[in-house]
Point group: C2
């Protein structure tokens, strides 16, 4: 298999585990948080800086890269690692979720999606075969199958249909995957907040012997409690010796709850998206750097933070000025700080597992105690 998870330690009080994910582009300590490079770039941050703040693995999006610059073009340029100058592991999301949430979706049928390109208006077909071809061209270490991911609140018939498709498409993706030796295709358990459907999906997806399994369809609008319940019900029952990936989640408390349920891998746009909008994370909770209370605050975003922004002495007053003046450096510094915040959380999570001292985690992260 293209990737392998070595489990190094487990908590005695929950399902959390410390591991090492071995990929064709290097090893990753798990639980891991992957910064998001949707279109082949972590917005505003140089790859060197991404590495320097402790990220070891990143996520790209096959849907966006298919639309622009095109997966064939990325392949012609040597693949995504080389194209974007990231020599560590990469995971690509398939684009099924984006086809629903962002595109001018034209139709969904048993064979896949048809949507209109938001770039140039052409009609694009995305079935299991195309989904694998695109991701084989991009060349990420971990790739995801096409799935049908209905929004929270979809009716039972729609969920039923989506689940059947997702399982059938997984089989087709397995068949069409051309690089199983150096790209790990994960399965995705769907089923929304319905425990019966989740149960069924868990059985159907784990029937495939795959190098890893993901939980999809979470954090699509269903609320914190439902997220935690779904993850707690599904994660511990995924194969113990394979990496478990919770897609697109989330806030600090969501990550901690998911790790406790046995999840190993995460991605989320929050650090960079919020950073671009002046919203920064701290151990004590979030701040909005545009607020007037920061106008003459000489302190850093977070005292004691070792990110290049806080460590570099950039004050809240200066950052507020940069945001109000529309200076790019504001979003840049805030994004780097937020990315480092998430990496520090993961460091502390891994330490808590290593020391089998899970309950010690909250002491260092007051934000976890807030609702």
């Amino acid at each position: 298999m293209a990737v392998r998870l070595d489990i190094l330690a487990e908590c005695s009080t929950n399902h959390a585990r410390l591991g090492r994910l071995i990929t064709p582009h290097g090893e990753v300590e798990t639980p891991v948080f992957m910064p998001v490079a949707t279109a082949g770039s972590i917005k505003g941050v140089w790859p060197d800086q991404v590495r320097a703040i402790g990220a070891s693995m990143i996520l790209g999006n096959a849907y966006h890269l298919l639309l622009r610059p095109g997966s064939k073009r990325v392949a012609a340029m040597g693949g995504l690692h080389r194209f974007m100058r990231w020599d560590g592991p990469i995971l690509t999301d398939s684009g099924g979720y984006q086809a629903f949430s962002m595109a001018n979706l034209l139709s969904v049928d048993e064979g896949g999606f048809t949507f209109r390109s938001i770039i140039d208006g052409r009609s694009i077909r995305l079935g299991a075969a195309e989904c694998m071809e695109v991701q084989n061209d991009l060349g990420a270490d971990v790739i995801m199958p096409l799935d049908d991911c209905p929004p929270a609140g979809a009716d039972p018939a729609r969920l039923r249909l989506a689940l059947d498709r997702t399982h059938r498409w997984l089989g087709e993706c397995v068949r069409h995957h051309a690089r199983p030796h150096d790209q790990a295709l994960f399965g995705i358990v769907q089923g929304g907040v319905d425990s019966v459907l989740r149960e069924e999906s868990l059985a159907a997806v784990t029937a495939f012997d795959l190098p890893g399994y993901a939980i999809g369809g979470v954090a699509v609008g269903e609320g914190t409690e439902a997220i935690h319940q779904t993850v707690a019900a599904v994660a511990p029952r995924l194969p113990r010796d394979r990496p478990r990936y919770l897609m697109g989640v989330g806030y600090e408390r969501d990550l901690v709850a998911a790790v406790a349920a046995g999840v190993d891998m995460f991605d989320c746009v929050l650090p960079t998206r919020n950073g671009r909008n002046a919203r920064v994370f701290t151990r004590f909770g979030p701040l909005n750097l545009r607020n007037a209370c920061h106008a003459e605050d000489p302190g850093p975003i977070e005292p004691g933070c070792d990110c290049p922004g806080c460590g570099g002495g950039f004050s809240r007053a200066y950052l507020r000025h940069l945001f109000l003046a529309g200076e790019m450096l504001g979003p840049i510094i805030a994004s780097v700080h937020n990315l480092r915040h998430y990496q520090r959380l993961m460091l502390d999570i891994r330490r808590a597992i290593s020391e089998d001292a899970w309950s010690s985690l909250e002491a260092g992260w007051p934000v976890l105690a807030t609702a």
Copy 2:
């Protein structure tokens, strides 16, 4: 005096000189090119990166910083160096030019400008006293007097009036300057493209014993030939032992011509402004990274360039993708490349002077031979 220029070498074939400018925040090798941090940030670039690409001194704009965040606020935060985390020398432009070119100018009279803030609509008075107070608050190593800088093509009466005001305001600035011990107030020679007015201004401005002199009102729309003629006529006649600063200029050929006329200091927004718009400089001339010809070009912006973009292996194909996708990293990498391009030109200029081999410069810079 707050700054001092030591001249280390001079060309035997022209007026070019190699020097060391000693300022309260460190020494600067001249001729020097100062990247522009208009609103207290070099757009998209961390101060560490600005240093790393070889910049030793930067420029801020008093007009923009007065409007936002306010010079009193910058002073409260410890001054501009500390506020923006740049511990090297800074020069601030006075804002007279911006008051004309950008603001809702309400009136100009013998005492200064009145304009409406583009930020919050309040009416702001900028006379010589206010101009000095603002720049004393910001605390740059070199500060500039208020000047009346009419556009190219202004009629003789307007030029006459502007010149008289500029000279009178210089006297007022000298009187109101509260920190002559640690901030060097330069004089500004004006006069447009009129050699008689330039002559008169040269005499009037150098009548003040100042730590440095600038040539203003150049590159305001008058064309390359006129720029070079004006600089060639004025620069060599400025006091030999004081730094000479050509404001807001320009392209590579303009810098080289000005150095040959004896200019020591430059600033220009071109590297960052053009970089943000996908226009990059090379020794062979400029490129537009949005052009389709770069779509699958695996090469760097410029082979052999040691900037973090070219040296980091980012291809033209990737950079084009970043610009088309609206990814911040495109403007960031292009800006850093352009800033390094200018610093490399200054390095070669300084070497040509040091080796008294001025004519060797063009061999390494084919762009200088183009019209």
